[in-house]
């Protein structure tokens, strides 16, 4: 096979959706695993609980469980369990909404807020470190392409 044909084959290869998906999955998985391990070993914290706390931290007021489940893109039952464990740990407070007694709203306790601030700082540093091998141009390009990909997926479902 000559150089031109090799290039053609490689180009087709790089554009192959299945290969793209495998690469996307592998990369995301690798990062997630690493962050998960570090959260566990440094703070005895899990990534799902950290993510939940992050939602509470950036919200100006308590959030209902349903809203939380939408923002985290997980099922309602899942959120129920995560909040249960965070409440057990004294990091989150659950209260019945006064205007709708079906609804439970949650917020960080002061201990939760303090721990989150510490963890968030470390977490940001870890993510920076993991992507340190990419320059700003690559990061920006990757970010843009991922947004396009996300849009493509949304439209296809």
């Amino acid at each position: 096979m000559d150089a031109v044909n090799r290039a053609v084959v490689e180009a087709r290869d790089e554009a192959d959706a299945l290969r793209l998906w495998l690469r996307l999955f592998a990369t995301a998985n690798r990062v997630e695993g690493e962050l998960s391990r570090r959260l566990r070993s440094e703070f005895s914290m899990t990534l799902p609980r950290f993510d939940l706390m992050a939602q509470l931290a950036k919200a100006p007021e308590p959030i209902a469980l349903g809203e939380l489940s939408r923002r985290l893109m997980v099922t309602n039952g899942n959120v129920t369990g995560l909040v249960d464990r965070l409440v057990d740990d004294g990091l989150v407070e659950r209260r019945v909404a006064k205007e709708d007694r079906r609804s439970a709203v949650v917020s960080l306790t002061s201990a939760g807020r303090a721990l989150f601030d510490t963890m968030a700082k470390a977490h940001r540093g870890w993510v920076e470190g993991l992507f340190a091998g990419l320059d700003d141009a690559s990061r920006a390009a990757l970010s843009t392409l991922l947004k396009e990909a996300r849009t493509s997926v949304e439209e296809a479902t």
Copy 2:
């Protein structure tokens, strides 16, 4: 803020590692969830089991559990359970390696091979469909950048 400064801020924003990671995670999660749901509803199959079968399908001969766990990037104990369930379903065969009695090697049964071929065809189509909104150039660029990202992560760990 003038236009130049807005552009500067936006560029910094797009290059922010944390934002990049959140986007990567969200995209991968969305695709994974969709493929998972379709495998379940169309074939009563889970994504992890499908992935395991894919490894067996492309291997020329039976694979040891340890090798499988490396290729799938999951722990040994995880593979043990997945194989157990696939054996229960008659899709995979587990045998003690003749040259090393500690080692168990697995391969697809003929039923497993047949089911996998059917599923793989559908799966490929689904992935193509999900990424149909990206043209070849975008796909190739995304793939290349993901490879860079993966390398960056590997180097940072």
